[in-house]
């Protein structure tokens, strides 16, 4: 099978630039990138004039919910949604039933993916059995089964001993420990449900302070220094956390860190409702559970720090933390609603807002979605160059569209972005040269 993507503005993930080029694909592998003159009769020509051609996006943090929570999402619906969002590889957190904490559960999961997934999926193993934080799993066995990292995501690794031990172990198994930083002991008053601050007290809700994330991150960073282990910080949200990473970098401590599209673009004000962006009056639309997420949405100044974190290479990865939920999980009081945002399909639109506002360069955003996560995974992905798999997305940077959740492919309709106007859309997604998503509505999205 020969294909050529012609005349696109190609971001190859190597030169750091976007250049008009062609991409030649043979049997699912990239053969050549450059100005290619080819006149084979049996070649399929894909015209990408005026569009961006990028390596397919790689998401190292998402929740597929199958097995165990199929009413929230399945491997089929989740990977289809991901492909619509331009993702060609995703990593699934072990928040399943059974948890991905044993060779058997991992093998089972991989089997399901082979049958049901339309893109590449890698499992992340739990750090502790059933994510209870007490006993470490058989890490080598899980690594051999294909896990790309270890995380108890959804739960922090509270026990410092366990954290230290798993970091030591990580060197042997060559897989990073990915921590969901949240020191729950800090919330002595009640379990927090949103960012700690004026709005939380105004709404009478218990807050999760920036300090809860930064303090555990701090501990983790210095344990990483102590052990030399492989550490990854999940979903950074607080300005203070970015400062901790700055210290880590200055001390030459090796780590990686990710941030979500929502933490980069929306604030806690979304809890007041999709349209009420002011704090002057709390209307009937307040306590919007679609804006309930962990870590919580925070403030403009946190967003500013996170943007600086990306620009200064303190945070190198954008990961979705796609967390789909069922109707009843969110159709309840704010305290009782589940945490999480379904965002495979809105990620590109969200992060491009930062490009249009000139906060982050397009090349940097694409790098955070492609070659950086590929490097984290240690896999031959995320670049458009000879020998790499043809995992490719074609993006119309100028296409304007409006978020309509009823059109979501994901079973999770829990997004706070209903009605948001975005500029920039995925047109086609290829995995190993085969098309897995095609925006057939053309220019009406």
């Amino acid at each position: 099978m020969k294909k050529i993507i012609k005349n696109g503005k190609v971001f190859d993930g190597i030169s750091g630039k976007i250049k008009q080029q062609d991409v030649l694909i043979i049997d699912g592998v990239i053969q050549d990138v450059g100005n290619i003159d080819i006149s084979d009769a049996d070649i399929e020509i894909i015209d990408a004039s005026n569009y961006i051609v990028s390596p397919g996006f790689i998401d190292i943090h998402s929740h597929l919910r199958e097995p165990g929570y199929e009413y929230k999402e399945t491997i089929a619906s989740g990977t289809r949604a991901a492909s619509k969002g331009g993702f060609t590889t995703i990593c699934a957190m072990p928040t399943t039933i059974p948890a991905l904490d044993s060779k058997d559960s991992i093998d089972y999961f991989q089997d399901l993916c082979k049958q049901r997934s339309i893109i590449k999926v890698h499992p992340i193993g739990a750090v502790t059995i059933n994510r209870k934080g007490k006993e470490i799993v058989e890490m080598q066995a899980l690594a051999d089964s294909g896990v790309v990292g270890f995380s108890d995501d959804g739960e922090p690794i509270h026990d410092s001993n366990i954290m230290r031990m798993s970091l030591e172990y990580s060197k042997m198994v060559s897989r990073p420990i990915m921590n969901h930083c949240d020191d729950r002991g800090i919330n002595y008053r009640a379990e927090g449900v949103m960012n700690d601050g004026f709005l939380a007290q105004r709404l009478g809700c218990s807050g999760i302070p920036n300090a809860a994330e930064a303090s555990m991150l701090s501990r983790d960073i210095f344990l990483t220094e102590l052990t030399g282990g492989l550490y990854h910080a999940c979903h950074i949200s607080a300005a203070q956390s970015v400062d901790v990473l700055k210290i880590a970098k200055e001390r030459g401590i090796n780590y990686s860190a990710e941030v979500t599209p929502h933490h980069l673009t929306i604030t806690e004000d979304f809890i007041l409702g999709p349209d009420d962006q002011n704090r002057e009056q709390i209307s009937e639309n307040a306590y919007n559970t679609f804006a309930k997420v962990f870590p919580p949405l925070r403030t403009k100044s946190d967003i500013q720090s996170l943007i600086e974190g990306i620009n200064n290479d303190l945070i190198s990865i954008i990961a979705t933390d796609h967390a789909p939920h069922g109707y009843e999980d969110k159709m309840t009081t704010f305290n009782q609603a589940a945490f999480g945002i379904s965002n495979f399909e809105t990620t590109l639109g969200s992060v491009l807002q930062l490009f249009y506002s000139k906060d982050i360069k397009l090349e940097k955003l694409l790098k955070c979605l492609t070659s950086n996560p590929a490097e984290f995974l240690g896999k031959k992905l995320g670049k458009l160059t000879k020998g790499y798999p043809a995992d490719i997305v074609i993006i119309d940077l100028n296409k304007e569209w409006k978020v309509d959740i009823s059109n979501f492919v994901s079973l999770g309709k829990n997004s706070p972005l209903q009605g948001t106007k975005f500029k920039g859309k995925i047109l086609q997604t290829f995995v190993d040269g085969e098309i897995v998503y095609f925006d057939d509505k053309g220019h009406n999205g």
Partner: protein, 319 residues
């Protein structure tokens, strides 16, 4: 807002302007005469169904609303539940929507989760009155408190209100800040640092009242015209915020001793129920500076006024 009939629920007191609040006072005053008559019943809300949905136990608020509805000849139904998602059977929103379909004309909701009445209100068509949600708001209590002051002192503008006690957990405190500020009073929080709503008192937010904070009882009381003591609980998780009751009472209890720091004319309020001996002494609550009894007596008239404003067809000719 009330004058042009735009009020269709009462979720918090910030929906009401000063004029709206005065209108409610007039209405309540008018309704008080029924409470003094021989037969405490008028047909104003005959045929209307009022449902009290209380997922937190409450005697005074619920009975007060129930009485208000019954005096007005409404059919009052009490529904209680634990309100948690662990309860077997219908979900909270399904239950509420069922009550609406069964024929409720208005729902009066008390829930331990902040924001629950907002969630309900946007998912049903009938009016909702918030009878207390989590730590967020208790608008009817504030109306009762304001009315009590209005009847006893008169003008609320310019008065200094000290809210004493567990401010961070208190929905009464939150609504009082909004309601008393709307009427022109100045608010001070007096509480231990661990019980202070620090973001609210340090605030530099535009449309939110400016609140002074002190942990010194003497300082707070010395300028107070009104002292609102909050119920301070040591049974639940909040007991972690203070070493023990003894230290609390020594520093913050309103007793005959500590009351000496306040001007003679200062009046005392308490939303109830009181923890006698903890935040307030029996001598103080029974003293002639205490308006606590009046608060209770005024509660029915205010709630009657609200019911008529929201689901009755009678309006006052003033304002």
């Amino acid at each position: 807002m009330i004058a042009d009939n735009k009020l269709n629920n009462l979720l918090d007191i910030d929906q009401l302007s000063k004029n709206d609040i005065l209108y409610i006072f007039e209405f309540a005053e008018k309704l008080s005469s029924i409470l003094n008559g021989p037969v405490k019943k008028v047909p104003v809300l005959r045929g209307k169904t009022v449902i009290n949905y209380f997922s937190e136990p409450s005697t005074r608020t619920r009975v007060s609303f129930e009485n208000a509805g019954k005096i007005l000849s409404a059919d009052v139904i009490n529904v209680s539940s634990s309100g948690s998602s662990d309860e077997k059977g219908e979900s909270f929103i399904n239950t509420v929507q069922t009550l609406e379909s069964i024929g409720a004309d208005i729902l009066i909701i008390r829930h331990s989760d902040s924001g629950a009445p907002y969630f309900v209100s946007r998912n049903i068509q009938i009016p909702v009155i918030n009878a207390g949600d989590g730590s967020h708001a208790h608008p009817t209590q504030t109306l009762i408190d304001l009315y009590t002051i209005y009847k006893s002192i008169g003008e609320i503008e310019g008065l200094n209100l000290t809210i004493l006690g567990d401010n961070i957990h208190s929905r009464v405190s939150r609504s009082a800040v909004l309601g008393f500020s709307t009427m022109g009073a100045k608010v001070t929080f007096c509480s231990p640092t661990t019980m202070n709503a620090n973001y609210l008192s340090e605030n530099d937010v535009n449309n939110y009242p400016s609140i002074t904070y002190t942990s010194d009882l003497k300082d707070a009381l010395s300028e107070s015209d009104l002292i609102m003591t909050l119920r301070t609980q040591f049974e639940r998780k909040s007991s972690l915020v203070f070493p023990n009751i003894n230290e609390y009472t020594r520093m913050f209890k309103l007793s005959n001793e500590s009351l000496k720091y306040a001007p003679d004319k200062a009046k005392i309020l308490h939303p109830g129920p009181m923890n006698l001996g903890v935040e307030i002494d029996g001598y103080v609550s029974e003293s002639d500076r205490s308006l606590i009894n009046q608060q209770v007596m005024n509660s029915v008239a205010i709630r009657m006024a609200l019911l008529i404003i929201l689901i009755g067809e009678h309006t006052l000719d003033s304002i």
